[in-house]
Homo-oligomer: 363 residues x 4
């Protein structure tokens, strides 16, 4: 009902930021799918903090232990379970967060929903740390998609107002963004880093946009209405903390076009049905049309900033100034790049597993 | 798996544009909730075509017949089932749509997925007509939310580039948009209508943006991760044909702000915890914070246009020019306004039904 | 959450005994599956009342109207919706059932759960009449299983203590029970009818047992733990009113055997792996082993009897004698035979649709 | 889809018999529910092997580590995750089980379903060992039910043909069966132990029946049709390995009664509505009527026996004699007693969490 996702596979995520551990169960995966744990670890490292100077210096080793579901390098049909031990476990008194909630965080809403019983340390179950198990599941699905010739790749599309070159919608450069700083335009990338530095110096933070592409998808994946590719990707992507917008293809820009501009004309290329443009982001009626699937994700600026902010004391019912201690990531957008890929990979693999696409053809 | 929605309530929608009928089952609703069928019909009429000169002249009476679930003006605990008979049932040969798919429509993806067995007439199950049963369910949920003091209201935020006055995020004018043409700024509304007329004269169409607000929600509604308010609303809203973007609060604009600008400071007003601004759209960590929930929906321009377009003949594997016959709605944004309200009402009522918000308070 | 079934397909059933109509939506069915409505009607007629002298004389025509999902004799990929109009719609005052509940019926529990808002007429949503839409869905699944060489057939295994010849567990006589009175042993069948007649003359009713077999199933269908064939069949079969027991293979009798007696030795027959006996009912670890699946269903005696019974007046809080009016079916077991087949067919087709059985083989 | 259960709570179980560990995630539990880990451990010990001379001597310490979801003795709203490390991890070559499957086990069906990729050691994911995480979840639910005055208790109703005194259906002796050997009649208990000893001496095994009672349930719990108490309990109980039958109230015996005998007359006792008898097992129309819920579970004899048995070599396609090595539990029925309690507690707590019972009363 909450930390569970999937119609055909079942992903269940657990953990609190400063609890004993975090992890996931991924059920419903057929046996015999290959698993390369080194490839998975490289994927997880892209999300990990402390990988570069721009992210928080707290260094965690997000190395999952697999307790079940994988044998001799293949899925064995049993649910896949993985655990990551937390190094920075709970210590100290976090009850002040329950009384004086941080603006932009879930402290207040958790207090109301859970009546003070929630684990407030480090955001508890609402911490961005929970994206690590999401990346375990997503990293696995990404491998299984790759085996079918499907690539999921994302880049930083923007930090504040600084924009990277967007993906070519007809032929997204999915292999061009594997550098440490995932952008297509190195110059824009340098500007982004400068903007992040400036924010950090000011005790502030910045947000941005992630653009994700999925190539190699056959036509016919996705279900009508609430089971469409957009519905399924949006549901899981909005499960990533700090996401406030998701759009497919031209998205909000499509709202300013005329139909004659926005409709993608069909054509035939080397015997394959294609579209001349790709305003739709590869999805018509919720179902893939074999063109690249493209979506963008708006990430708000990290709410944890060192500047003093106005909050309230819930117990006293009055305004109270708050200074959040510790060093925080002034921009989580780079780390959100693999997380968006993970989310998309899970959603699409789930749809592929349960696809009702028929093999029959009407005579 | 597809035309089914809900974690606590279960909404199942059926029908094809030119089939015998369309309708829905809404299961899991407690007994004893009042139902006012006149209020519901007024809501459905807002979605119906032919209500004004700007929409398609085909006049249908979307008057549902309730077959079960309602007795003496109250829900009776049994699943609620409603059917709308189609007046314009299937006639003529639509097989040409299977061979020569309309750009921007689901004709091609349906052909691939369903192997030619799909009902191609009028878009079949992918028709916008299927939003009528969505509005039956949503209109009911809207009544049950209203009974709890929760209001769901939307307006046309933009047609092409012409923008209405946005909702005040702290106090959205939910009662100000009930006119036939749902805008806050009459002047902008007149410009929008002119733009739609111009598109129609050109045999073309336009898109736009719908902005929706939910007021009166208590804090603590929504579940963490994939069960958050954003995840649940986005999943159902993307089930509406032609939607290509969904954003909450400041959405994509939040990506350009600094944390100190985007964080909503807490304050106390008449003993109630509030925020000074509402960049978050009333949602923190996926859970309501008692501020108005705000989201915007990007609607692409209607793909059905009378201009000639390039398509392909699937059987011959070559390009073919296509002219879509019949008169079509040059802009579906006004009709999408109640549909967005319906979708939000269903998502939120579903979350309220299953809320795990605790009544206990830690000592 | 209640009248909805299925992991891969989604079946949603609606209706009240004396409401406007009853029906179902069956979603998630691939396109291109053939539908023979005459075969379906013949199946539904086996469940219908008034088909013979032993059942209630109220004659209903359970002829469903399909509103969507079927086109030109094939599924079209859209949800399948069917409605049966009720002839005997609500009339008169049934509020006495709310105050003086019938023993053995859901009148009292419905009153508590629904607070008096429930439709009490004829049992409302709890009526055996709701098995008609179950048979629509099940009759369709049965056809689609038959297309794959899978047969689902049941017979009356017992009425009170009178027992029919049981199915041969290795080779159940699934084609031998298609007579009007579905038994293998005509003599036992005649005794059963005499027992039912005797009960009716006494203003009383009798129960019995239905035995169901599924043949032609490949090995490897079913999921571990809660997704096993037994779990899935039991869940849906217990949705049939009056069912109080479900057992597979030797069932309760297996509890009296030793392991050496109950284990089914493997053997090879014409190159196929088989078992020498079939105590397990074709299921090991929740998964089919290619032997016939066998289960038995205990049906309690019809609670509606004309004899005077002791009930209570809920409003007065005191004992009250009750005489149930109208003519009732003294034994519903014969009509439960096709319903059990329908339930099994739905459960198995659902499992087949979502089967995670792998096509790969470990080198 | 398989090792996942629940409509309102979500239970996900993982592990293989000889893998690194087994465990569970229990999601959807409200915050603030008390957890007593000592009470839980005592419950788990009832299921553990080696607790007495009648069960397998392999001694495991089933002491779960909780990684999330519990804080300071209360649920904190986050998913509850628990892990038990396996002591006897995989070693040796179990591939012979893949080629020569044990009769009565899931070896063969797993081989077909998982193509040889499955973990065959000790039965892998099909091992009875997986009931340990089921008991973690069930032990917690049992505590939360106890807090509401609801007791779940079971006893050995029979071993082979030796029967314990059955529960009094009107007032089951739920507090009388807490001894090491859970029976009501000590003499019958002694006979059962002798029967188990005799089977062990013969290199054989025996089965039996568990009877479970739930007292203190209010009326109105359960949903109609497939969400009824019987459907929900049966689904989860059939997830326990070796279960072949489940019946409620009089179950199969009800099939031999007349309606006038089987209907439970209503009465009023100290102002409360009760029934004079309890043939229905506390459930009418799938919904509790406030009388004790009673069900019985048939457990087949342990398939692992030391006697030589006939199997086949799958690779050679011919019959092969098989002797299963190691010492095995000659009777798992005593250990199934707490497992049945756990299953019932989970099913009922799930239903309580999502109950649509209305608080309103029709005027």
């Amino acid at each position: 009902m909450s930390s569970t996702y999937g119609d055909n596979l079942k992903l269940s995520i657990f953990g609190q930021s400063h609890g004993a551990g975090i992890g996931m169960i991924l059920d419903g995966i057929p046996a015999g799918l290959p698993v390369d744990l080194d490839v998975l670890q490289a994927f997880l490292n892209r999300r990990a903090p402390g990988q570069n100077v721009w992210s928080t210096p707290r260094k965690e080793e997000d190395r999952p232990e697999f307790l079940s579901g994988i044998l001799d390098g293949f899925t064995c049909g049993a649910p896949i379970a993985a655990v990551i031990r937390n190094k920075n476990t709970r210590s100290g008194d976090y009850d002040n967060l329950k009384d004086c909630p941080r603006p932009g965080h879930a402290d207040y809403t958790a207090q109301i929903k859970y009546g003070g019983f929630q684990d407030a340390a480090g955001g508890g179950h609402f911490s961005g740390r929970l994206t690590a198990p999401l990346c375990i599941a997503g990293g696995l699905c990404r491998q299984w998609l790759a085996e079918r010739g499907i690539t999921v790749a994302a880049h930083i599309a923007a930090i504040t107002g600084i924009r990277d070159t967007p993906f070519d919608p007809l032929n997204p450069e999915v292999n061009a963004v594997r550098s440490e700083w995932p952008v297509l335009n190195a110059e824009a990338g340098a500007e982004m880093r400068a903007a992040i530095d400036a924010a950090r110096m000011a005790g502030d933070s910045v947000g941005g946009i992630v653009e994700c592409a999925v190539t190699g998808l056959p036509a016919g994946i996705g279900e009508p209405m609430f089971g469409g590719v957009e519905s399924r990707i949006a549901q899981i992507v909005y499960g990533i903390p700090a996401v406030k917008g998701v759009e497919f293809g031209d998205g909000f820009a499509a709202a300013t076009l005329r139909g004659s501009e926005n409709n993608d004309a069909f054509t035939v290329t080397e015997g394959e049905i294609r579209t001349v443009t790709n305003h739709s982001g590869g999805i018509l009626g919720g179902i893939t049309n074999s063109m690249p699937v493209l979506f963008r994700v708006a990430v708000k600026p990290t709410p944890s900033i060192s500047k003093q902010q106005q909050s309230v004391s819930l117990s006293r019912g009055e305004i109270q100034e708050l200074t959040v201690k510790g060093r925080h990531d002034p921009c989580i957008v780079p780390r959100a790049v693999p997380v968006a890929e993970a989310a998309a990979a899970i959603a699409i693999f789930d749809l592929i597993l349960g696809s009702t696409r028929t093999d029959r053809r009407k005579p």
